[in-house]
Symmetry: C2
Subunit: 139 residues, 2 copies
DNA sequence: TTACTAAATTACAATAATTATAAATTAGTA
DNA sequence: TACTAATTTATAATTATTGTAATTTAGTAA
C-alpha cells in the first residue's frame, strides 16, 4: 500500500490513485468504493466512481488490499492484506478486524482432496460498544 | 426442510413452495434463486422469480436453509442448515460443502469482547475433479 | 521544454441481482 | 360454498458494479 508498490506494478502515479492510497493507508474502517468516493470528492471534484472501482480492482488484484464481502449489499476494502477474520456488528453494522490466534486458519492446505489456496472468515454478532450501550439502556 | 416445518411456521402449503422444498431436499448443488426458478419453470409455467426469492427468504429467516455468499455476483442456497464450510472451485466455479473437523469453528463465543453469534467459512481453490483434469492435460 | 503515446480518467450508459408494488389468485377455514 | 388473509404474479424500481468511448494526462525521449 505504498507509492513504491504502484511503481513496481508499472502503474502511473495519478493524483486520484495517490489520494485513494492515502485514504486507505492504515484505514481500519473497511470503506466501500462509494464511501471512498464520497470522502475524496470534495478535494477532487472531478473524481469518478469508476476510477475508484478501477483502482481498488487493481490493488486487490495485486494483493495489496483485500475485499471484504461480509455485508450482503456491497463490497468493502481493507488495506491490511494479511489474512485475518472480519466481524460485522448486527447492531451498528460496523466491520471490525478480528485477529484471533484461536480462530486462525492458514492456507494453503489440502482437505479431502480439495486444494485450498485461500479462505475467508466472517463473524457476525454484537460488538463491545453495542453490548455496553445495550446494558446502559437497562439490558 | 419438511412440509411439517412449513406448517409449524404458519405458512400455506402452496404448490410453488412444495416444489421448491422438494427441489432443495437433499440438494448438494447450492443452487441460486435463478437456477431454482429455471429448473421449476417447465413444470410450473406460472412460477415467478419473486416467489422463489420470497420462499427462500422465509426459509432462510426461519433457519431452515442457509445463504451461501461465496460467489461475488449472486447468492446460493444450502438446505443443510448445520454450520459447515463451503469451497468454491476457481476452475469450474462449483460450490462444495467442506466439512472438516480440523477447520471447524463453533459459535457462539467471545473474542476480545466481540460476541460472535455466527460465522461463515469460505474456502477458495481447486476441486479434486479439476485437479485430475489438469493432470490429464499434461499438468 | 516540447511533443508524443499509451495509460488513465471521466461521464454516462448498460447490466444484473434483488426488492417493491399492486392487482389477481388461492389455501385453509368456517 | 363462501370468505379472507396470505400468496403469487407480472412488472417496475432499485442499486452496486461494469462497460464504453471520448478526453485528459503521466511518463518518457527528443
Amino acid at each position: 500500500m505504498t507509492i513504491q508498490k504502484l511503481k513496481e506494478l508499472g502503474l502511473k502515479l495519478t493524483p486520484q490513485r495517490l489520494a485513494i492510497l492515502n485514504l486507505l493507508e492504515g484505514n481500519m474502517n473497511h470503506p466501500s468504493a462509494e464511501e471512498i468516493y464520497n470522502q475524496l470528492k470534495p478535494q477532487y471534484p472531478s473524481l469518478s466512481l469508476a476510477t475508484v472501482y478501477n483502482t481498488l480492482e487493481i490493488l486487490a488484484g495485486a494483493g495489496e488490499l483485500q475485499e471484504v464481502r461480509i455485508k450482503s449489499d456491497k463490497r468493502h476494502f481493507d488495506p491490511n492484506s494479511a489474512p485475518h477474520g472480519h466481524f460485522l456488528c448486527r447492531s451498528c453494522e460496523s466491520i471490525y478486524d478480528l485477529d484471533s490466534g484461536a480462530y486462525e486458519i492458514k492456507a494453503p492446505f489440502n482437505v479431502n482432496g480439495y486444494q485450498v489456496e485461500e479462505c475467508t472468515l466472517y463473524f457476525y454478532g454484537i460488538c463491545p460498544k453495542c453490548q455496553a450501550a445495550a446494558k446502559n439502556n437497562g439490558n
